[in-house]
Every structure is written in C-alpha cells, then in structure tokens.
C-alpha cells in the first residue's frame, strides 16, 4: 500500500534527523544553539505554525462557509506582520529562552513569570490535543489501524525527536516536515485546479471560467442557492463579529509561545525580521492555495453527490471514498425519502449536534448497505421554495482536504502523499508545542522559580522529563478527545491574543509599564476570555446573550482591549519600573549587541 510506504518513509526520515541532531546542552535544547539560518528557521516556523487545523480543517471550513472563512485566512497570515514589526526583533534582542522568561525579567516579578507559565501551558495544551486527534484520524482512515494505535504511534515518534533533540531536533525535522506538507498540499491542488479549470495554479483557477462558460465562483453561488445554502461569495455573520474574530486570530498568532520561541533561534535581530518574512512566504504558498482547494472541492462534492442531473446518485453507484468515510464515522447517509439515492442539500439529515450522525457499536446496515445511525431524522420536511429535496447527507468538514483527491479521482500516490502531509502538519506542530510546555516547566518553573541552584545537566533532565509527561497528557487527549477539540483550538488563539500579545507589546513599546500593570492586565485578559469562552462553549450560554454579538472565538479581541486598558490604568497609578529596567527597554529597541540568547 502506497500510504504505508509514504507515511513510513517520512517517519524514517524524521527519526534519522532526530538522531543526527541530538541536543547536548540546555541551549541546544531550548533554542537550537541560537545559530539557525533564517531560511531554515522560516521553514521550521511555517511547519511549526501550520497544524492539522491549517492542513486538514481550513479548506474544509471555507468550503462550507464561503466568504466568512476569510477571517481565518487573513487572521492566520496577518499575524506575521505584527510579529515581524512589533515583537520578534525586540524579543530576540532581549535574548531569552522563553516567553515567561521575557515576562518575568521585563516586569521584574516571579508572579508575572508564573502567570506567563500558566498562559503558555493553557494555550499549548488546548492546541496540542487537536493535533493528536488529527494524527488519529489520518491513521484510522489510511492505515486501517485503530485510532488509539495511531495516536500512540504518533506519540512515540514525537517522543523520539522532541525528547532527544529538543529545539535542535525539532528545528531540522520541521524543515523536512515543511517540505512534505507543502508538496502534499500543493500537488493535489494543482491537479484539482487543472482538472476543474484548465489552469494549473489554484490561485488563478478559482477566478477562471468552467467549460459551461460560467465562472467557478458564479457556479458555486448558483449551486449553493439551488440547494438552499447561502450564497458562497456572500457573508453570513455580522461584520463586527468577523472583525473581532480576525483581530483575535491575528493577535493570537503573534502571541503564540511556540511561534515566538522560533525567533530566539536565529543569530541576529536582522535575522528575526527576515525569518518572519520567509516564514510568511512559506505559509502563503499553502494559504493562497486553500481558497481554490475549498472551491473546487465544493463543486466536485456537490456534483458527485447529486449527479449530473442534480437529482441524486444511487448509493450502489457512489464511489468508494464515500463508503470509506462512512465507515470512519465522518460521513453519513439517511435515505429520508426511501428512493435509494443520495441527495445533498441544505438542512440536517441527523438529529445530532451540527447534524452529525451517531453510530452505535454494532455495525447496523440498511436496505442498500448504508450505515444506520441511531439519530437519523424520520421526517421528510424541507422548504420546497428553496431546495429541490430534503438533505440526506452529513459531511464532516474535516474530511474535505483528505477526501478531495479521491473525490476528484486523482492517482493513488497523490492520496498517499496527502496522508503523509497531514501527519507531518500535525506532528510538527505537536512537537513545537510540547517543547514550549517542557521549557516553561524546566526553565521558568524549576530553574527560575523553585530551585535556581540546579545545574545545566539537571535542568536538561527536567526538560526531558516534562516533555515525556506532556506527551502522555497530549496522548490521553488524543485517545479520549474532549468532543470539542476543533473549537478549543480556535479558543487557544483568543487566549493568546488576550494574555500574551498585549503584555509583550507593552513591555517593548511602553517603557512606563510596570509589574503591577502587567500582572493586572494579564489576569484580566486571561480570566475574562477564558470565562467568556467557558460560559458560552461548555456552560450552556446561548448565543442570544453574546456580548455585542461577539462569538467566543472572537472574544479574544475584547479581552485584549480590556488587558490594554487595565494594564495602562494600573501602571499609571503605581510607581514606574526601575531606572535599570527603563534602560534595558531602551536597549532592546536597538539591534546592535544582540549576541546569543543567554540564560542570565
């Protein structure tokens, strides 16, 4: 099987790199020795940053929501502009190993440092659970192993290179993983674009016309309206909500600890700026292809499910990908009108949350061989003025990128490549996150707070120990996923945007910012955002009670504004930071004399 070959081969490559790039000192473990070339760092940052959410979920999301998905495309790329101009160069000049390290030293307070540790751990753990889940999905679908076995296998690989190699091992494996994932995303995108539009570049293809003479986007709008969906190129959510979501995603991107540490690994301040530039080029290669993949995937999906006559396709005649994903539980068909044909339109076919089917342990099959869900809708109601038939299908958004090559009937090696790419995306991000967690614990908690007397060797041992524990916790989440992984990943950005980003910015741009202001600001940002999300996502708050109509994903923007206001007000009422610290802040604004990242 090609999938085994591709995924197995990529694993061997990662392990080989891990052995070659073992870390011998804390400095190698934390910042790869501080001598990474900006292009290599750009690739590593891109792989670190582009997770299962970018690779697997984003195109699927845009495929289903259309224009409103712009918030994610702009948010997850625009953050790099903030990073390059507002944070990375100065943090590099300050020359520390971690984000809590900067917070603790700049604000001269171990309380601030500990809050920094808490923010880092909360953000990174919420994020890592989603990655392990992504690995599990790919394994269960392509390698036909149990999801749990897949997660454990993924854990073992990450364990190997993160624990052995630290930042050094991670950096060079991420360079390899970037190459795998960018090929895996763009090759099928070229195929799809060429097949649907005749243009090889999806960036151009999405704007071109089909054989019918109608443009791709106009066709999408037409198909959507015909089936009772909202128009593809029109917005559905309120502008203010989308605005807040974009702000939260951008500032969250700039405030993600595992991305920020990547800029501590380059030799000079100048290199921190160019690294951000390279990173965004490498990210843009994938991100600008996403809207095309989303659009073509949507056209193909609708036309395959509803057939050329738009009347539905016989279940017996549907291609095998449909049945494979049905077996994986991420797709479902409920033959509501009993005609044996699959019909796809607006509305839910099952009674689960978001129309999701639930299947019980036994493999119950219906008259045509389809899986029977326990919560299939029994009525056949639909609005005949808007759509031709009732919806009978559930398609999980997360399968779009993975299923796309199969739906488009691309060669088998392309499908195997996509599977290897998805695994690379998930593992590279998981490793970066685990490293940040272990550094926060070993360096900021053990060395800087609890026991400053431990030596380099002991600190390194604590870091490896913390990485092992973190991998096990992440694996637990992968095997027992909290049913809300997808939302939780988005929430991590909100938390980063309300806690880490403002405190770093104030530390650099506002010399007068002091200990009290920073602590008050971080607490207000963190607590208000986590509280709001908790109440509306898990606490059963209804969307009618949203503050100014802002959904939980966008609340990070409000939390950030609160953070800024509270921090500045409190700082103005309390004594300014020491002369020494004000001089240090002036110094971090000047590139010269950055030297290497140092511990003291």
């Amino acid at each position: 099987m090609l999938s085994y070959l591709f995924i197995g081969g990529s694993f061997l490559l990662y392990i080989g790199i891990a052995v070659w790039a073992r870390a011998g000192s804390t400095k190698e473990f934390y910042v790869a020795g501080g001598g990474v070339h900006p292009i290599a760092n750009g690739m590593a940052t891109a792989a670190d940053w582009m997770s299962a959410a970018s690779f697997i979920s984003l195109a699927g999301l845009i495929s289903f929501v259309g224009r409103d998905g712009s918030a994610y495309l702009m948010g997850w790329t625009g953050g790099y502009v903030l990073l390059a101009m507002l944070l990375a160069p100065y943090l590099r000049k300050f020359g520390k190993f971690t984000v809590p390290d900067f917070v603790g030293d700049r604000y001269e307070s171990s309380t601030a440092r500990i809050i920094g540790v808490v923010c880092t751990i909360v953000i990174s753990f919420t994020y890592v659970a989603g990655q392990m889940r992504g690995v599990g999905i790919v394994f269960s679908r392509y390698l036909h192993v149990d999801i749990n076995t897949g997660v454990i296998l993924g854990m073992a690989i990450v364990f190997f290179y993160a624990v052995l190699g630290g930042m050094k091992g991670i950096t060079y494996t991420q360079v390899a993983q970037y190459c795998v994932l960018i090929l895996a995303f763009t090759v099928p995108a070229f195929f799809l674009s060429a097949q649907v539009t005749g243009h090889i570049l999806p960036q151009i293809g999405l704007g071109s016309t089909l054989e019918t003479g109608q443009s791709v986007l106009a066709t999408l709008d037409q198909l959507s309206l015909d089936l009772g969906f909202a128009q593809y190129t029109a917005g559905k959510k309120s502008t203010f909500d989308i605005f807040c979501l974009t702000v939260a995603l951008m500032c969250g991107t700039a405030g993600l600890p595992h991305v920020i540490v990547r800029f501590f690994t380059v030799p000079r301040v100048k290199d921190a700026r160019t690294s951000a530039g390279y990173a965004l080029i490498f990210i843009a290669l994938l991100y600008t292809a996403i809207p095309g993949v989303a659009g073509f995937g949507r056209v193909n999906l609708i036309q395959t499910l509803n057939g050329p006559e738009n009347t539905g396709t016989e279940y017996a005649a549907i291609p095998s990908w449909f049945k494979n994903w049905e077996n994986a539980g991420l797709l479902g068909w409920n033959d509501r009108n009993g005609d044996g044909k699959i019909q796809y339109a607006a509305g839910a076919a099952f009674d689960g949350k978001k129309g999701k089917p639930s299947y019980d342990e036994g493999d119950a099959r219906g008259e045509f061989g389809q899986r029977l869900a326990t919560n299939a809708k029994t009525d056949t109601n639909f609005d005949a003025a808007k759509q031709p038939f009732a919806n009978e299908v559930y398609v999980d958004r997360d399968i779009m990128v993975l299923a796309n090559p199969e739906i488009a009937q691309l060669p088998a090696w392309v499908i195997a490549l996509v599977a290897a790419g998805a695994v690379a995306a998930a593992l590279s991000t998981a490793a970066g996150l685990l490293l940040v967690i272990s550094t926060a614990i070993a360096h900021d908690l053990m060395k800087k707070t609890i026991n400053p007397n431990i030596n380099d060797k002991q600190e390194l041992m604590y870091a490896r120990l913390a990485a092992v524990v973190a991998i096990c916790i992440a694996g637990y989440f992968g095997i027992n996923p909290p049913g809300f992984v997808a939302q939780v990943v988005a929430l991590a950005f909100g938390i980063a945007s309300a806690s880490v980003f403002p405190t770093l910015m104030l530390g650099i741009f506002y010399k007068r910012m002091n200990t009290q202001g920073a602590i008050a600001g971080m607490l207000v940002g963190l607590i208000s955002t986590v509280g709001y999300m908790w109440y509306f996502v898990f606490g059963g708050g209804s969307s009618a009670d949203y503050f100014m109509g802002v959904s939980p994903g966008g609340f990070g923007a409000i939390g950030m504004v609160l953070h800024f206001i509270v921090a500045i007000v409190v700082a103005s009422m309390t004594p300014p930071p020491s002369e020494e610290m004000q001089r240090i802040v002036e110094d971090l604004r000047i590139p010269r004399g950055a030297g290497e990242a140092h511990a003291h």
């Binding site: 502009v81 101009m85 190129t233 000079r268 700026r273 000047i590 590139p591």
Partner: protein, 86 residues
Amino acid sequence: MSISSESAKAYWAENLRIIMTYLAIWFVVSYGAGLLFVDQLDQINFFGFPLGFWFGQQGSIFVFVILIWAYVASMNKLDEKYDVQE
C-alpha cells in the same frame, strides 16, 4: 552602547513611523478591503473574482508578504543610517 541616547531616540521615532505606515496599509487591505468595504468592492470584477472577496481570501495575504519584506528593507537601511546594525 556606542550609540548616543539622542540618536537612539531618533532611531526609535523613525522606526515607529515606518511601523505605523506599514500597519496602515496592513489594516486597509485586510480589515478595510476584505471586511468593512467588502460588499462595495464586490461590485468590481477582478480577474473573475469579486474584488472584496479576492482581497479577503488572496490579496491581503500577498500584501502581507510584501509588507514584511518592505519592512525588512526599510529597517536594514535605517540600521545602517544610525549605525546600529550588527
């Protein structure tokens, strides 16, 4: 530091001005064209895309890349002007 505090201040002020200029463009292409004025811009056809939709899903990303590299170039020049490069 070899650099005088006055020239450090001037360097920082110029840096802030450069950042403000680029962030203004950053805001206009993303939040402006891709979000706030998207419906008006969508009336214009741009190589088969409604213009606002294009900015939201493609154009803003291209501009972001250009902005970072423009900032890199501006800052390299500024570092040399004030002799603070490494």
